[in-house]
């Protein structure tokens, strides 16, 4: 169209620049330390590298490093900072990966960098060319990459997977997940399981059906795909592999064909069960009265066999969702000690406000406890049936002419917890959950339009529940469901959490701080102002006998796209885009003392 000519020349310019960098990089590149399945499986126990987003298969975000700890964290100071630069700022939700002397970070607008682990200097950058007309729903974020062999692999806003040579940044393969024109995009970090690259899909409401796909990580070739809505056929090595669920068991008519349940936040892996755990989004269309039934497997956790691509168990947190309670959140495997026994468990803090603990071998519900102060939609969860005990809080049925005065519901559609991952410490036995306290007015809105025609929409306004805070970092005891400590934050929390064996919990705030807390007591021990809101995922590694902490700073994500009272808390936050690295200050160098006159 009109802009093709400029678009093309932009690509040429970009590639020339890239080639220049590639040459410079390859001249100095050492022999690559290829990432193997064994290395990934052992990631949580090797402090010198970070090979996976989630810091290990189970996504616990726990580091065994103790060099930085609750006794010496006062001495934590910046080592270096890297600017993601340019005019492209907005939300930076990445988690760094560290291997072979390099740090890999992804950034807004589908960009990725390799930085020198010692100096923070750029080794290469790959800036994906985004097509014109792309309209990602919820900011232009990226949540991190995956490492395998000598590849670094990430997904793009136009729903592509790109595998780059880790040393040079040169494209090795690209695959299209789906057509961005149909509303598909990709923002999650891929997961590597036994040589396979595991990804989901992000997408708009209509015509989208969620699925999990496994590709050969070295080539991008599809191995299996598993749809997340019942009635759809799965595939293994190009052959039919059975439909998901049972056709029309929980969906009326042909609505299952476009049932939603997008898998936009990716998956974790249980090595001992060989199951991939993935959360699914809400069902389509939005009006729950038009799709009577549970609408499986929307708003669920699925356990998929890593080899066969078959669903081994599922657990649905919000049947027949009416509030936009996506069930995409991370399911973290852990061994729960309770009543003298050890249970193979997994936990998930859901958008709907419940903290679920399941038996990860069979999906059986063990407990469901609130992790926010208000849940209007359900009074609890029946442990026998696993179903919520609903409290008559659905918006009116538009089919019955119920335009409806607004219904107040909590949590709000942005969730008691959104995408930002929690952490689990085997040392304290606690989960650290980044929660938000907000509700919403929700109503049927007849005066709106879609695609050039009248349309019945759902209107809603988001409202904080308290004057003094929205965000709350909460330490949950999974064995009791009790909140052990909490930290309250004025603005909504939107960044990931990490915990370490040094008795520390780290998370960022929209106000710009990276903060550290005592893992046992929740006492705030340290903070650093990064200059923009922190919505990234902190991580840590060791190099030359010292421990480092790294986090991306750059305000964005879904919160600033929304208004209401919440906007007041975040409207003055500066945009940014940088990656900060911290280490313990070492004093005592003689030269320093001599400088003063």
């Amino acid at each position: 169209m009109v802009r093709n000519s400029t678009g093309t020349s932009a690509v040429r310019g970009c590639c020339r620049a890239l080639i220049g960098m590639v040459l410079a990089a390859s001249a100095t590149a050492a022999v690559a330390a290829s990432v193997t399945d064994a290395m990934i499986a052992n990631d949580q126990n090797t402090p010198n590298d970070v090979l996976t987003v989630g810091m290990g298969y189970s996504g616990q975000r726990f580091s065994s490093s103790t060099k930085i700890n609750s006794d010496n964290i006062d001495d934590l100071v910046p080592a270096w900072s890297f600017s993601m630069g340019g005019e492209k700022q907005r939300g930076q939700e990445t988690q760094a990966l560290v291997n072979d002397g390099k740090i890999f970070i992804t950034g807004s607008y589908s960009r990725i960098w390799a930085l020198d682990q010692k100096t923070g200097q750029k080794i290469w950058v790959y800036e994906h060319r985004l097509p014109e007309g792309i309209v990602p729903c919820c900011d232009v974020v990226n949540r991190g990459a995956a490492l395998y062999d000598n590849l670094v692999i990430f997904g793009t806003l136009d729903a592509k997977l790109v595998a780059l040579n880790a040393d040079t940044g040169k494209v090795v393969w690209t695959e299209t997940i789906d057509d961005f024109k149909g509303g598909y995009s990709y923002t999650a970090a891929p997961l590597i399981v036994k040589g396979k690259l595991i990804t989901g899909v992000s997408g708009g409401e209509f015509g989208v059906v969620g699925r999990i796909e496994a590709r050969d990580a070295k080539t991008g070739k599809m191995v299996w795909s598993r749809p997340t809505v019942e009635g759809h056929m799965g595939y293994l090595n190009g052959k039919e592999n059975g439909i998901s669920g049972k056709l029309n068991a929980t969906w009326p008519g042909d609505l299952w064909k476009t049932g939603g349940a997008a898998t936009w936040l990716g998956c974790t892996y249980g090595a001992d069960t060989n199951q991939i755990y993935c959360g699914t989004g809400n069902p389509a269309p939005w009006n729950s009265y038009s799709r009577p039934g549970d609408n499986l497997y929307s708003t669920s956790t699925l356990a998929i066999n890593a080899d066969t691509g078959k669903i081994e168990w599922s657990y649905q947190s919000t049947p027949n969702d009416s509030w936009d309670f996506d069930g995409v959140n991370e399911f973290i495997s852990f061994d729960m000690k309770k009543d003298g026994k050890t249970v193979k468990a997994g936990a998930k803090a859901d958008r709907n406000g419940f903290f679920y603990v399941l038996n990860r071998e069979n999906g059986k519900l063990l407990s469901a406890s609130p992790f926010v102060t208000k849940q209007t939609w359900a009074s609890g969860v029946d442990l026998k049936t696993g179903r919520p005990i609903e409290s008559n809080n659905r918006p009116g049925d538009p089919g019955k002419g119920e335009k409806g005065s607004a219904v107040f519901a909590a949590p709000a559609f942005l969730g008691a917890k959104n995408w930002m991952p929690m952490a689990y410490s085997g040392q304290t036995g606690l989960f650290y959950v980044p929660a938000n306290e907000w509700g919403m007015d929700i109503w049927n809105e007849p005066i709106t339009y879609k695609k050039g025609a009248a349309f019945l929409g759902a209107g809603f306004t988001i409202k904080p529940l308290y004057d003094d805070y929205i965000g709350a970092l909460r330490a949950m005891d999974p064995a009791t469901g009790k909140i052990v400590w909490e930290y309250k934050n004025p603005a909504p929390l939107w960044g990931g959490v990490m915990t370490t064996a040094g008795n520390l919990v780290f998370t960022g705030t929209p106000e710009g701080f990276l903060k550290a807390f005592d893992a046992k007591t929740g006492k705030e021990l340290w903070k650093f102002q990064t200059g923009s809101g922190v919505v990234g995922q902190p991580t840590t590694w060791e190099m030359d006998g010292e421990q480092y902490i790294g986090v991306a700073s750059g305000w964005g994500g879904a919160v600033p796209l929304w208004g209401g009272e919440v906007a007041k808390k975040v409207k003055d936050i500066s945009q940014g885009g940088s990656f900060w690295v911290f280490k313990l200050h070492k004093s005592g160098k003689a030269a320093v003392a001599q400088v003063s006159p």
Partner: protein, 292 residues
Amino acid sequence: MRMSRITGLIAALAILASSLIGVVHADDDAPDRLDIARQKGSLEFIVYRDYPPYSYEKNGAFAGVDVDMGKALAAAVGVNATFRTFIPGDDLDDDLRNNLWRGTIVGGSVGDVMLHVGADPQYVARQSQVSIFGVYYREAVALSFDTKKFKSYSTIGDLKGKRVGVEIGSISDQYLTNFESGVLNTSVTRYTTLDACVQAYTEGKLDAVVAPKGELQGLMFAHGAKANLATPQPIQFQGIFRSAWELGIAVKKDSPKLGAALADAMSKLIESGELKAIYARYGIDYVTPGLR
């Protein structure tokens, strides 16, 4: 995270608007888009992508009612028309924001004029960034049925047991799916686009189609529908589902001169019968706004 059901953006827009006050002030000094257009010699129209019979690409050029209308409006203002297509957002608020006043977050620039904009007075009144005016057409939901498949049609209940095509997520889909607690659930057959739906209809795979009348009429014309497929007739939805609505023009509020010029041009197109002729070119009976 799909912020899928998005009318709630209204609230967000109000806040965005207030946080953009600084920008609006800066625009006070900016020239009206009409003056810029006259300098450049062209106005950029924003039209929906792949939206026959209104705006679509044919043999490498843009065609359709909205495209012809844009050309006629531009000519009346004394400039050429250029066109830009876009993928619709979750609702019109998204489209106006992405194309007229802010641009998309992926570095998109904005255009001058958007056509095919819903013009309900309540909707118009809650816009803080754009003006909606020049109401030019009344669209209404209509039904066409295959006279070989059923003899007559009087109420929506008559669709029980028939195969009824709709565009997925459209108001027709919403209403029929909800109708009487879902009695038509197994009758409704959903298509990603109305074009695909009408294609299936003309191939005899459907007994009826429910869709906006102009769009349906134009597509049946384009697909060469045979006489057994009845001319679409308006039907009434009950309750809070609207079955008719007005369409107008939108421009950013910073360009009142452009708005006035286009409003004037549009009334001339209507009065002279040129607009009616444009619709007729695509097989659509023009419906004057306000007539029920």
